[in-house]
């Protein structure tokens, strides 16, 4: 069996994943004329420092929220610890732009405070506070919804792997603070870097939160240029965003490469220290801060507004948007799962290096910034509709295909990872056994591997579904005219200042994400993680 069709399809997938970035790089080289000069003069520097500041602040806040919480739930026993271990993950289901809904009007309500500042401290303080407060809110919302990445990676490290080293430090006479600062924190650095770089990437991709609070880092800058029809400018800004990402990844790689920590992992679970009532309350408080900002407060406000607006005429629109979200997410999940299976199973059947390379390229897509994928795919869609005008009658389906294409590029990795891990867990002897029992390589994969990796495929599909369901950035740019998803609707209503009406679709979004995440978490827990 030569397997050329499978190899061909694998490479088509890989090239599709690379296409948007290639388009961006290619088009960024086109002359952009005065528009670019104007951007360089007026906006570029602002986009750059805002991106740097935002990303840096969000990372710091996420670490400040994620590390101490991971520490207290791993090392101490206090009332509510068992619940907190899982509840602290809830903000994963709360997209930043949904949480922002609950805080935008708080910011708007700060006017009396500004007036007070002006009266007490003068005009300069008044102006400064007005600039700083949106930053505080944007960074706070992003940090409080993204810290679970840090929390998860650190909790895994503290609770399991580093147990032996932490016990040793205790026996050698370190106090709790000493153990944390001298042993736990330095050991957790790989986890901090891993979780932190995910936070940084998400913060760079954010459009909803920063624009809700009026900030203009690169991502909204790219969309503004794209919206103004300055395609070449948007492409050039997108290149800057990629450079930014490259710097972040290089720092991450450098940090990892310099000191690769080997933790023993053989010592088993850490014996947790029981805290007294007072200290227990402090620990609970440490956990409640991020959970409150990232989930409870916005959830509670949204629920209240949603209840108030239950009779509103908007509900028909919400339902239509919900259906759109659902179909897009389901379609993308199916597409991604099929492609992931093809790449992973194809590589298994044919033992093909070239398919493995295609698979690695597929994994890269998750690292591409949303804004880059969005304008890259957007340019492709425009090119196709200009080149094949007869297709313009299918404008709607063309844009939906564009959306699917963009989701596919960004989230293929989400499908590949669990499927590849699933196949990895199937012993090769099982496949050999099937072969000696008369199955050809394809038959062996179909009859043995596939039934065994089904849970992994389902997990990948669910993750992809959730990601697309709450996706905002790509959808905003690429959606057909008048086509709304729950995410874009929540964002639009917030943007128009109609927070109360934005609450219901936002809440629906959160609940559906939770409905997908909870069984997934339980399944992964049962699977030994």
């Amino acid at each position: 069996m030569s397997g050329w069709p499978a190899r061909g399809v694998a490479w088509v997938i890989a090239l599709l994943v690379l296409l948007p970035v290639a388009v961006v790089l290619f088009r960024a080289g086109a002359p952009a004329g005065e528009a670019w000069a104007a951007i360089v003069e007026n906006r570029l520097w602002g986009h750059l420092w805002q991106t740097g500041l935002l990303v840096g602040c969000v990372a710091v806040v996420a670490l400040l929220l994620g590390v101490p919480t991971a520490w207290v739930v791993s090392v101490y026993d206090f009332p509510g610890r068992n619940g907190m271990k899982w509840l602290l993950l809830l903000p994963v289901a709360m997209p930043g732009f949904v949480a922002a809904v609950a805080y935008v009007d708080v910011l708007a309500g700060l006017v009396p405070f500004y007036i007070w500042v002006r009266k007490e401290w003068g005009i300069e303080a008044f102006l400064n506070v007005q600039v700083v407060m949106p930053w505080v809110f944007a960074v706070g919302v992003l940090g409080a919804t993204l810290y679970p990445y840090v929390f998860l990676s650190c909790r895994a490290l503290f609770a399991k792997q580093a147990a032996g080293e932490l016990e040793a430090a205790r026996l050698l006479g370190c106090g709790s603070a000493g153990v944390f600062l001298k042993v736990a924190l330095p050991m957790a650095r790989p986890a901090l870097v891993a979780g932190g770089s995910l936070v940084v990437m998400e913060a760079m991709n954010d459009y909803g939160v920063v624009s809700a609070f009026g900030l203009t880092p690169l991502t909204p800058g790219i969309f503004r240029a794209w919206g103004e029809g300055e395609v070449a400018v948007a492409m050039r800004l997108a290149v800057f965003l990629m450079l930014f990402l490259a710097v972040v990844l290089a720092v991450e790689r450098w940090q990892r490469g310099r000191r690769l920590f080997e933790v023993s992992g053989a010592e088993g679970l850490l014996a947790r220290r029981k805290l007294g009532f007072g200290k227990g309350l402090v620990a609970l408080g440490i956990c409640l801060v991020p959970l409150g900002i990232g989930f409870l407060v916005p959830g509670w406000r949204l629920a209240g507004w949603a209840w108030d607006s239950r009779g509103s005429a908007e509900i028909v629109g919400h339902l239509a948007a919900g259906w759109n979200s659902f179909s897009l997410a389901a379609g993308a999940a199916v597409l991604v799962s099929v492609a992931a299976l093809l790449l992973v199973a194809g590589q298994r059947v044919l033992k093909s290096k070239s398919i493995l390379v295609a698979q690695k390229i597929g994994l890269m897509g998750y690292g591409f910034p949303s804004a880059v994928v969005a304008v890259g795919v957007g340019a492709v869609v425009v090119w196709v509709s200009q080149r094949f005008p007869w297709a313009s009658g299918l404008a709607l389906s063309a844009s939906v295909s564009g959306l699917m294409f963009a989701y596919f590029v960004r989230y293929l990795a989400v499908g590949i990872q669990p499927v590849a891990a699933g196949f990895e867990r199937v012993p090769s002897a099982l496949r050999d056994a099937a072969r000696t029992l008369g199955e050809n390589p394809l038959g062996a994969v179909l009859r043995v591997d596939l039934p065994l990796v089904r849970p992994a495929v389902l997990a990948g599909a669910t993750l992809c579904f959730i990601d697309v369901f709450k996706e905002l950035t790509l959808t905003l740019v690429l959606r057909p005219f008048d086509f709304e998803t729950l995410a874009t609707r929540t964002y639009r209503l917030t943007d128009e200042g109609r927070m109360a009406e934005a609450a219901l679709p936002g809440l629906g979004l959160v609940l559906l994400c939770l409905a997908g995440l909870i069984p997934l978490t339980l399944w992964m827990k049962g699977d030994g993680e």
């Binding site: 050999d432 056994a433 000696t436 029992l437 050809n440 038959g443």
Partner: protein, 344 residues
């Protein structure tokens, strides 16, 4: 007539210093069981995989029933060789019941014929009524039996077994070993099995191939490789063997020892005798004339016998398996004589 013919098979891996399998040849007659024995890294598992088709060969060829099934750059595909295999850790499909595992490789049979076959196989391996169980609900020995039934169900021309008993504990392993042998005999199956355990090989096989570093050391029936090993490696691989250099024996040519010495030109300095501990016995020095003498250094209780280590002149150490009622103690001097000599 030989069912399986292995001719000059070689296989090397990139990056490895020496070939994994280096010019191996042997035959397996129909209805016989062959044991491939060697230490880990001797190439026995690679060889088995080459026979199964799960591994390619660099040169040489393998014939099954006269047809070439493996040759450089190809051969018959695994699934078309008609060779069954029992895997080291059984490799039962965890998502299928015992019944579906056993029938996995059975095609071209109607439903009733399949059910009859399943019943027959379950009866053969003594697992009646277990068809609906899942592999994780079985004991180690039961899993081993399912693996055997699954490999036998498609009625393969040749059965391969890769360390079939190694995952079982000692007590279970002996009974499973005997059962397996009985089943293979009953079905008149031609089989090749790989093991690092010489006990398994001696007990189960009709013929043994001893491998070391990818080369064949000896091919022969079990008593042959045990009692007439082709070289020092084979001799010591199948159990303790004493080496008595000729120069340590006072009268090596006193008419008692006769053997054929290899190349002409006299006896090499390192020439000597290989003798198994159970072929020697201890007699009191007075009865033995000028026999080899040694001082007892260590006595180990071995159950039905005593394991006696003696230090002889010129630093030669000899182990004797002593099962006579006479008591021996460390420090005593005894004469060492071959058992057969006294009897004859």
């Amino acid at each position: 007539m030989s069912l399986l013919e292995v001719r000059n098979v070689c296989r090397s891996y990139r990056g490895a210093g020496c070939p994994a399998v280096d010019g191996v040849s042997f035959d397996v007659p129909e209805r016989k069981i062959l044991g491939l024995v060697g230490e880990s890294g001797s190439g026995k598992t690679t060889l088995l995989k080459i026979l199964a088709g799960l591994e390619d060969l660099d040169s040489g060829e393998v014939r099954l029933g006269g047809e070439v099934i493996a040759k450089p750059g190809g051969g018959v595909a695994v699934e078309r060789r008609g060779i069954g295999m029992v895997f080291q850790h059984h490799a039962l499909f965890p998502h299928l019941t015992v019944g579906r595992n056993i029938l996995f490789g059975v095609r071209k049979l109607g439903k009733t014929a399949k059910n009859d076959l399943l019943r027959e196989m379950l009866e053969l391996v003594g697992l009646e009524g277990m068809a609906e169980r899942f592999p994780h609900e079985l004991s180690g020995g039961e899993r081993q039996r399912v693996a055997l039934a699954r490999a036998l169900a498609p009625d393969p021309k040749l059965l391969l077994l890769d360390e079939p008993f190694s995952s079982l504990d000692t007590r279970l392993r002996h009974s499973v070993r005997d059962e397996t042998r009985a089943i293979l005999r009953k079905r008149q199956t031609t089989a090749v099995f790989v093991t690092h355990d010489t006990g398994d090989a001696l007990a189960v096989a009709d013929g043994i191939v001893v491998l070391r570093n990818g080369t064949v050391q000896q091919v022969g029936a079990p008593p042959e490789v045990y009692h007439a090993p082709a070289n020092a490696y084979v001799a010591s691989f199948f159990g303790t063997c004493n080496f008595l250099p000729f120069h340590s024996l006072k009268h090596p040519s006193g008419g008692k020892v006769s053997c054929h010495i290899g190349p002409p030109g006299g006896i090499a300095a390192e020439a000597g005798l290989w003798v198994r501990p159970e072929d020697l016995e201890l007699v009191s020095p007075g009865e033995a004339g000028d026999a080899l003498r040694g001082k007892i250094e260590k006595v180990t209780f071995g159950g039905g016998f005593l394991c006696v280590d003696l230090l002889c002149p010129e630093g030669v150490r000899v182990e004797v398996r002593h099962n006579a009622p006479t008591m021996v103690a460390v420090g005593e001097e005894w004469a060492i004589v071959p058992k057969a000599e006294r009897r004859g």
